[in-house]
Point group: C2
Chain length 551, copies 2
């Protein structure tokens, strides 16, 4: 098997080689295979998704530099190997390179053939000038400084319904103390609001005691992985391509990622036959598959599941005894008229499955949707279908970190209960929301069309979420060039793109992809008046790249 | 060895018995010993601090109830045993009982011999009516809703320096986007401010690149445990008594807690001879001790280390190759004129140890001090003495969760750079700060004196932090009574106290204590005008308890 040398320090390489040889010599799922060209292995459940992403800055961290720390107790080969194994592509190698280029542009304007870095690597809308929803920020400010609620100047500065809402929320907090630790699941009154919002969305009951408020969705995902994973023999079923939080969390908790491949040819379809095959294969290799992760709308792939397909998935989990972990953080991000968001809980309940029939966790976040409040770190998970004993253990783990941040908790209640018809803010709120979502839809369409117009590039429809994941048919010569600099071909492609244009995409290898195919992930988030510039810079780069490497 | 049966469900008990027998039959450090009366074992590093704390509500979760969930895939005996093992006393059994009583009082006033629950279980000042520092909240509100910064009404509502500070902070945030994910270590400009605050405090340089902003101190502690712990054979040295975040985090990461006992007789002194003995004992049992946790000022014990003692600890860590994990979250909470806070970094630097001589992590939080902003979940760790390769791994783990919440980041910068002489807010800020700290000192003194006036109770001086940890000499009859209801004696004592008075203390067994001694932890946080009531209710209870059980 071919394996590219990594840029990483020799210590890490040696460590990985050890893992690798251990895997070769045993049936252990601790098996690393990178950039393999052998399809039969790549579709194996055993494939792990190492995406070694050293900081370009650290390539100078040679042994001599490490030696300066020889009298300190912690060397990189003495840390937890699960940490070494974990990778997180959306903030990996390419982003570190982008940060270096940005610094160089600042220190030395004109040093690169572009004058700004365009971060299309991460769903971080406010960093690309998306403005916050005014009503949400009004309420947050008032809850941060309740002393001004009764002042006359406040009436002139804040909308009447934001003042009213702040009073309502403060009344739900014991002692109005927004500076106190809350219940470890979050403030009960806010959970009541969220449960009511879920009920209104789904048409099925929701219980505030099922809600765990968290600092964004990531800690909730970690909590479930921590609960379910006991050893390498425990597997978590994940889509490929997947959002690398899942692979990172599974690695950190010492489990095995069991992949199921989304079908690019059918718009990233989720085939039950694929799930069955992969499950059988995993089980025959001694893996106890505990849960199935579904990301809907999809990240990085942007598809929205059809309700029929969701029913099949629910039935599959029910039949196979899998916990269904539903990443539903993009539930507000849908851009095509023929698709709608249906929560998995709604689907399961509409099939007649109740609390005791299926174990289901839904993750939601204030970072996505039209609000995009990534910096607030708010979110929740709704857990249903777990016994009181297991729920108590989940509560205990939540209690070790005391509680999530209260501003994030408040914001999570606001997104699930925004202004209603008749409220003073309703019109401006609706205008802001619709403006953001319709602009996202236009940007998604423009980028999708641009990708599809390029030689060797195909891109599925952007139905939802904030991403496009076009496939790029790289010429053999480009693949050889990548190999000669020890990079995966898609990493090479996005590095060249970044160096030529300042545009930051994430290589598909950070998310996983069918072996021998190469993709990039782009967000749809550059400002609307910059989309043309992104498209023309990207188009020009791609043409020149193809001219350089065309077979 | 005697071992009390737990109230926990049979499944958990069975699980624990298995762990226990496994340990009995091997030299594994996975060894649980609870309430042992055998001193030679209790001082062993092998002792783990299980503090089984089932929810009273769930004691009705019998097998028949569990059976209702028989068709769901996750049973309590199929979850990660590290989760089962972890306990977190400050939100454990007693607090769950308190919450139940509070609900009963609400549903049925007069149902208990008190009309309110007095939460003295956790350092959560705002929940006991401590008011936030006005300047901090002004700045947070303005950063949450920058749209009002230029409005004339704002001048009337906010202090001039809070407006100026908000502008400064917004200028440090790319695009002024408080709604964007930041750099995974936190916003660079805020880290600059924090580093400058550390320099001003210590008189030694601090580097913003050494700062990792986190959602409170807990995630920072978890991050270091995740980095250092590879298996049960890796040990973390912790004081006993300790704050149970450490035991919980070590359990969740699968390591071994290696205890060193603080000497109650010398005001919870930290003896180097004890450290040496315990280290030797751990090493002879095959434990690779990786780090030493010091909590200064102490939690739950309230002592402030003398600088001489800190130097000895630094030398010990240097000599033995241990990472020094310094929990310095109570650095502003010092109540006696003869003690001062010295950061371990300042002490190490003043001894001439530089970046490459000693590995040191300092944890700080916005939840403690005079600010007590627990709900904001802000904090940071300053890491020094780690090689670039190891730092890169720490950064990677931080990046998996993207970033900490921006309000918490801003607040962390504010506490390290509060108003200065000449600023409009300086006088009111100083008055608020001094008022809170002097009140805390008075409350600590009153409670300390009250404890010391009681039969069989001795309490060390409250030098710092927010807690007292009095020792209670329980009569043999009380210990027998506890045993008859399957409770640890100190848990029995605080349960009886809670049921009689509504006062919530945490039993010493949640923190660890020398075998055969019993303690309670009380915060010093009840409002000043309630302290007398707490003291008289507690005194009355204690007398009656002693009358009931006196040998």
């Amino acid at each position: 098997m071919r394996r590219f040398a990594s840029e990483k320090s020799r210590i890490i390489l040696a460590h990985r080689r050890n893992l690798y040889s251990a895997a070769q010599n045993s049936t252990s799922p601790l098996y690393s295979q990178r950039f393999s060209q052998q399809p039969h292995l790549c579709s194996s459940f055993l494939q792990r998704f190492f995406n070694t992403a050293p900081s370009p800055n650290s390539s100078s961290s040679t042994d001599s530099m490490a030696n300066d720390y020889s009298s300190t107790p912690v060397s990189v080969d003495s840390i937890n190997p699960k940490v070494l194994e974990c990778e997180y592509a959306v903030r990996g190698e390419i982003v570190t390179l982008a940060q270096r280029l940005q610094q160089e542009l600042k220190d030395n304007p004109g040093s690169h053939p572009f004058d700004e870095i365009l971060y299309c690597n991460i769903g971080n809308p406010h960093s690309l000038s998306q403005q916050p929803i005014t009503f949400f920020r009004e309420v947050l400010a008032l809850c941060d400084h309740p002393a001004i609620l009764d002042r006359s100047e406040t009436q002139g500065l804040f909308s009447a319904d934001s003042i009213e809402r702040a009073f309502q929320i403060l009344d739900q907090i014991p002692g109005r103390a927004t500076g106190a630790y809350s219940h470890s699941q979050g403030i009960k009154g806010l959970r009541d609001t969220i449960a009511a919002g879920i009920e209104a969305r789904d048409g099925f009951p929701a219980d505030p005691n099922d809600i765990f408020l968290t600092d964004g969705a990531s800690p909730a995902v970690h909590m479930m992985m921590q609960l379910l994973i006991r050893s390498k023999n425990d597997g978590i079923f994940c889509p490929i391509p997947q959002y690398p939080l899942y692979s990172a969390s599974i690695a950190l908790h010492g489990g095995t990622l069991v992949p199921y491949y989304l079908d690019e040819a059918t718009g990233w379809g989720m085939e039950i036959s694929e799930l069955k095959n992969q499950l059988e294969s995993a089980r025959s290799n001694g893996i106890n598959v505990r849960a199935l992760v579904v990301i809907n709308p999809g990240n990085p792939t942007g598809q929205v599941l059809a309700e029929d397909n969701q029913r099949q998935i629910v039935d599959f989990c029910k039949k196979e005894g899998l916990v269904l972990l539903a990443d539903e953080v993009y539930q507000e991000n849908i851009y095509v008229p023929d698709k709608q968001f249906h929560s998995f809980k709604k689907v399961a309940r509409s099939m007649g499955y109740g609390e005791k029939d299926i174990s289901l966790v839904s993750f939601q976040s204030v970072s996505k949707g039209y609000y995009g409040e990534c910096g607030k770190r708010g979110g929740y998970m709704e857990i249903t279908g777990f016994s009181p004993e297991v729920r108590q253990q989940i509560y205990k783990v939540a209690s070790v970190n005391l509680c999530s941040n209260i501003s994030g908790q408040i914001l999570a209640s606001l997104i699930m209960n925004p202004p209603k018809v008749g409220d003073e803010s309703y019109e401006s709120y609706t205008a802001e929301k619709d403006g953001i979502l319709s602009s996202m839809a236009r940007r998604a369409k423009k980028l999708e069309e641009a990708f599809n117009s390029l030689e060797g590039v195909t891109c599925n429809r952007a139905e939802g979420a904030m991403y496009l994941f076009p496939r790029i048919l790289l010429p053999k010569k480009a693949i050889e060039a990548a190999k000669s600099v020890n990079k995966a071909p898609d990493t090479y492609y996005v590095s060249r793109l970044l160096e030529a244009t300042g545009i930051v995409f994430v290589p598909g290898s950070g998310f996983g992809q069918v072996s021998g195919t190469w993709h990039v992930r782009s967000t749809i988030l550059p400002q609307e008046d910059r989309i043309e510039a992104v498209v023309s810079r990207f188009t020009k780069f791609h043409k020149e790249f193809m001219d350089e490497f065309r077979d």
